[in-house]
Amino acid sequence: MSILDSKIPTGPIDKKWSTYKNNIRLVNPANKRSIDVIIVGTGLAGGAAAASLAELGYNVKAFCFQDSPRRAHSIAAQGGINAAKNYQGDGDSVFRLFYDTIKGGDYRSREGNVYRLAEVSASIIDQCVAQGVPFAREYGGLLDNRSFGGAQVSRTFYAKGQTGQQLLLGAYSAMSRQIGKGKIKMYNRHEMLDLVIVDGKARGIIARNLVTGNLERFSGHAVVIASGGYGNVFFLSTNAMGSNVTAAWRIHKKGAFFANPCYTQIHPTCIPVSGDHQSKLTLMSESLRNDGRIWVPKRKEDAEAIRQGKMKAIELTEDQRDYYLERRYPAFGNLVPRDVASRAAKERCDAGFGVNATGEAVYLDFATAIERYGREKALTSNVENASLETIIELGREVVKSKYGNLFQMYYKITDDDPYYTPMMIYPAVHYTMGGIWVDYNLMTTIKGCYATGEANFSDHGANRLGASALMQGLADGYFVLPYTIADYVADDIRTGKISTELPEFIATEQEVKERIERLMNIKGTKSVDHFHKRLGKIMWDKVGMARNAEGLRWAIDEIQKLRDEFYSDLRIPGQINEFNPEIDKANRVADFLELGELMALDALERNESCGGHFREEYQTEEGEAQRDDDQYAYVAAWEYTGKPSEAKLHKEELVFENIKLVQRSYK
């Protein structure tokens, strides 16, 4: 029997959440005023939670390492947010969104959590519109939708290519209102470096003020970790430069189990790497696959000629192109889920059909869409007998109105104009489905410590569908945590303020202080980035898109060696008590160097392929991921025991009562 209790309410799946809400304890308004809640991170999950809890009357202390809560990396999400509104009347429903999400996650997520997510999704759209979020609309004034990978309905709401920005600014404005009222105390340029546990409960954090470099203590009756994912362990990813695992890793080392760390999402459509100087990778939204067709040359000679710059993409005729997603997956075509699309691109490039000088790129082509939209536009604007040139010109206008900012971004980065030549894209690390283990209440294995949004593991299984991250972040923050946290803090209405002079606070601050001093005192020869890049290379090569047992064992060994080198040869210039970004980075990379090892261990332990976790030893004859439901239909929750490679595995069996497990097929 597992020691993990997911606390999923009993009863039929569509009644679980409402029954739960009817039975939890509430905290009356006067008592809420005596409860302090700490929230680390101000993205969609953290920002939404901070605003909602403050509206309810709790005293919120919110933290972000950026100079303003508005800059959290949720802001960079492009394509959209899913919701089971069925405004298009195309057969969508809560059950279908639930089903698509479980299937998309390759049957490795929890039914109860995912159903709840689908259930509250519609309220998110209502709430955001009420806040003044300017979603895209039709001419009739109603909301527009588009399609995303892994779904056969149009349930994605969007604001051009800036949906994340608009939703985050919505949450930020809701936060701003509470900051103005004094209900949220905002700590910008602060980074949580440890959790303080008093009598077995999370009661506070130690944070570093990134402007002064001083350590500061903060207390609360509950602590929420909404610090996002850990994709930056790969150094090159679509994450922001500052995105990090530190808050999550620190609570892990204090007793929170880390679940499914090997589940990493490699996004199929990113701008390819251009050189060694590269500091990050830029995503081109999945929404582009609504209209873009992915291909490589049919013949190797052509691919070779393109790589050498002797031939251009547009010189190849239709029958010289291999639209490999349409060929392999006729039912979903270019809109297969991300894991499938990424692997298919890697397969073609590994086989020698890649374009770009590096051979690691495929085409994303809009020519067909431009012509189709152009014809439509010519008809609706009464242009008679339009020439092909006019049609294409009109089509470009339509495409511009849909994806203008993405095309501009692509042009600025690559100096190639995608209105005239196909984009070149390649998969890149984008999102991490794994994260801190939480129960139905979103509470970790530490009492009073919660994890929400990308920081937790609960909703996306082994692969996240496009436009579902925004949905989960806001669902957790606006509609789940405000209920579940009440049930816990109801015990604390008479506790009173938690003193930061308690010995636990003093001791934890001392630990953090010594940790930073240790890093400063190495006085070696290599920069933090030097180690981060090397870690990233190990991770990408051996714990990336395709993994095998031998490579994973090698990676564990290499990461350990790299960590030893880090602690003997790191150089951090400057002082501790000042604005010193090198210290910020060193703290983060120190934690990535431990996390990387746990990811490899988790990947090694899971002898199957599922979603974003692809083990070369376990594939079907057609090269698709081969799950092993008898052995591995569980959540791997790791307990820290002093060394990442010696972490203890706890299994939470996944129970499927409403969905039948089948081989995932998008053919």
């Binding site: 509104k85 709430q127 519109v129 009420a130 003044g132 979603f135 039709e138 809701a174 980065i413 405000p482």
Partner: protein
Amino acid sequence: MKLTLKIWRQKGPNDKGQMVTYPIDNIDGDMSFLEMLDVLNEELIHKGDEPIAFDHDCREGICGMCSLYINGEAHGPDRAVTTCQLHMRKFKDGETIYIEPWRAKAFPVIKDLVVDRSAFDRIMAAGGFVSVNTSGNTVDANAVPIPKADADKAFEAATCIGCGACVASCVNASAMLFVSAKVSQLALLPQGKVEARDRVLNMVNMMDEEGFGNCTNTGACAVECPKEISLENIARMNREFLKASLSSEA
């Protein structure tokens, strides 16, 4: 590419600060401007010097964190991009590049090229929101149709990333473009109309309190804005402000 960089160095808010010259070599045209600074910092760390502090995060032009004044222009010579999206191919081999922080009384320097923009957050807290609590029981999202033209205009205003380039570019260090973008977005939508009067008065008041200058219609802000926020928003805010100032309380 070989370049000469002249960079503003300032230890802290009370330090006087000065321009320091750094030669740099082997710069590739495909590098972003910030990647070029990464290369310089790596060299400085290697030599035992302190790297240059600059703000940055998403490096895809959306978070609004990066903020350099390059050769006398906010976010440098290219149009409609942030510094992180500015690429070195926009510069010539042998060129001298001047790099400074945003300069405005309301944005004090923290260190080197890093400034404190929290004044923007305080303006937002004064009224940049719709007072609606989270409940899950607001009206259905499609209950109030919004003309597409209004929704599109609101969206365009809402794409402001709050980087502060408008303030840095303005001879008066005015924050009118930033403030008007939020006022416009919400004034154009039915959900925001209810509080429009108080919003514009409170936000403009706070803007003045924070020490931003007045608008004298030079239009530099809109030219340098990486998100091409239109001057129309300022005109709209002026109308909103006038309307609010002349009307009695509802």
